[in-house]
Assembly symmetry: C2
């Protein structure tokens, strides 16, 4: 059977002050009146039934996320005691699925990306499932919209297959986040996709690669798997997990896996990594602004205003991100958004726990 | 005797969103931990005793202002049913003082100007009192700090007198707010002062000029004066005042009075007309910022942050005025502050009564 596994354990500090430790990005209504997590679950229907959708997250986030999608129960959550990077999170989901269904195929999906073409997305997921049946690890590549230095890239090799109208390629190599020159070259070449962090594979094929490339982690996983369905599961997981080494799926598995395929897709994908990314998704007014919440904008251009209850008045400003919450306000130049993390870091250092 | 009359009836819309209809500028703590009204009263001591200080204001503002200076009682307030401009406000104070003391000299002062040299200010007020004893209408001129187009100017004529080290001049003419070319010329000439709106005169001399130049208003004032001390005073004032024509003291009296003197002074005077004027008064940090309230400023320059309880974080911004209150936030380019009034006007038109 085919299962969806939504990765939803991150906190998204770059969307401060709206995102907080206890109010992660996936729980926010950034697009329309649905939270990112609601979008992530709802776009899977009707390809996946609710019983075949699992969410990997932190213990703290389970009640918050469960409350956002009425059909979900705690059975739909795979809880990591603490985040150890994407490789352990996906590994934990994989052993749970193997126990449930030795023939399982899993789609590793995200809650912090927006996808406008949800129909196309489901077609791609179904296509990828077919490609994965011979044991390939399939990754979804995003056709570059601009020469981003913020994503890793995937270089495609020979064409493997065509499913419907959708070409599938062998992966030649994974490239880490490039400098701007290399980004320009790769984005222009037509041979490279952005690494979306979405993967489709048979669970047995994936776990074989874990065993081969990450044997210590595989042993830890096996210990957890053996406790599945027993009363000792939680205590085993909590004993084992702190010793699991942090690792990303790209570095831990994908870069050295022999049998990786990429499907370059155009599905209206946007990484909601920072506030400016909303300009790629939300309607922009005649002055280039996005104004959410009560606002009066006089001679204001290219500016994002995200408010809640309070009136926000702007006069003669350009290229700003203004995000207003009950207890904190951000006024940031659009080209300096990467430094929002520095604010969160400072708040952590100062122990101002309510504010980050 | 010498009396101080503080004009405190205005609302100061340019300091929105901190100033509101029900929270006028003079009631705000803009400099230090004292309100503008507290500064205005306290800098008069010890020259004026509390019994000789009167405040002209609106009915609504009496409780607010009285609560800010413990020594004041309702006897210290002269209440206009509604504002009709500076000439009627000063005229009403003058007849009240004439009834109390036919030999009164009055100093017309302001609550929306900051004065750093309060000792020098009191010396000037005492000097002006002496100059006024022969019937002259004395105005305090501010030596121009820059070629402002926001103030009226006073051109001085022959030197009349020197009191202590302080020269006194006849006024040659009053000049309305100039264009920038004329402002440059006047500020550079040494013959012009800014019109501060502060005046010192014998009450009898002033009322003679009112009778001569504004006979209709003088008749209205006489009607009010006749009711002073009777049970019919309030009803008389409320009947007469709506028919009083709006008029400024400059246009109604000063520009055509024959016997006007100016004392150009340097007393650290600043008109707190808008947010940027705080840059002339408050300490500025190494990056040119004024940060009031909880804030984190990363690469922020030449920016004013006025907050209350909420954290305000700024990144990569320059030349902004950011003023945060419980129910409204302003983010404004420093050189566009005159348009704050447009916000208030729009809120009025929309009937959003809590917000202006």
């Amino acid at each position: 059977m085919y299962y969806a596994v939504i990765m939803a354990g991150g906190s998204g500090t770059r969307l401060w002050p709206l995102s907080r430790r206890n109010r992660p990005k996936q729980s926010l209504k950034l697009v329309g009146d649905r939270t990112m997590f609601q979008h992530a679950v709802e776009r899977l229907s009707p390809l996946f039934s609710i019983e075949s959708i699992f969410t990997v997250t932190k213990p703290d986030y389970v009640p918050l996320l469960a409350s956002q999608v009425a059909a979900l129960t705690t059975d739909n959550f795979i809880v990591e005691p603490e985040g150890r990077g994407t490789a352990p999170a996906i590994g934990l989901a994989a052993v749970q699925l193997r126990r449930r269904d030795p023939d399982a195929t899993m789609a590793v999906l995200t809650a912090d990306h927006f996808i406008s073409d949800t129909g196309g997305f489901r077609v791609v997921l179904e296509t990828a499932r077919k490609v994965a049946q011979d044991g390939r690890l399939v990754t979804l590549g995003i056709k570059p919209a601009f020469p981003s230095t913020g994503y890793g890239y995937i270089q495609q090799g020979e064409r493997l297959d065509v499913q419907g109208d959708i070409p599938v390629y062998a992966v030649k190599r994974f490239v880490e986040k490039p400098d701007s020159g290399n980004a320009e070259r790769m984005a222009a070449s037509g041979d490279y996709s952005w690494n979306s962090g979405m993967f489709i594979w048979r669970v047995d094929a994936f776990l074989s690669e874990v065993k081969r490339q990450m044997p210590a982690f595989y042993a830890q996983l096996a210990e957890v798997e053996a406790a599945l369905g027993t009363s000792g599961y939680s205590s085993t997981l909590e004993r084992v997990w702190p010793d699991v080494a942090e690792q990303t799926i790209d570095y831990g598995i994908m870069e050295n896996a022999p049998n990786v395929a990429v499907i370059p897709v155009e599905i209206g994908w946007t990484d909601l990594g920072n506030w400016s990314s909303l300009f790629d998704i939300l309607p922009i007014d005649a002055n280039g602004n996005i104004l959410r919440g009560p606002s009066i904008a006089i001679d204001t251009r290219n500016t994002l205003v995200v408010g809640e209850k309070r009136l926000i008045a702007t006069i003669g400003v350009e290229g700003l991100v203004i995000v207003d919450t009950d207890d904190a306000l951000l006024v940031c130049s659009k080209d300096r958004e990467q430094e929002v993390r520095a604010i969160v870091k400072q708040l952590k250092q100062e122990g101002r726990s309510g504010l980050f």
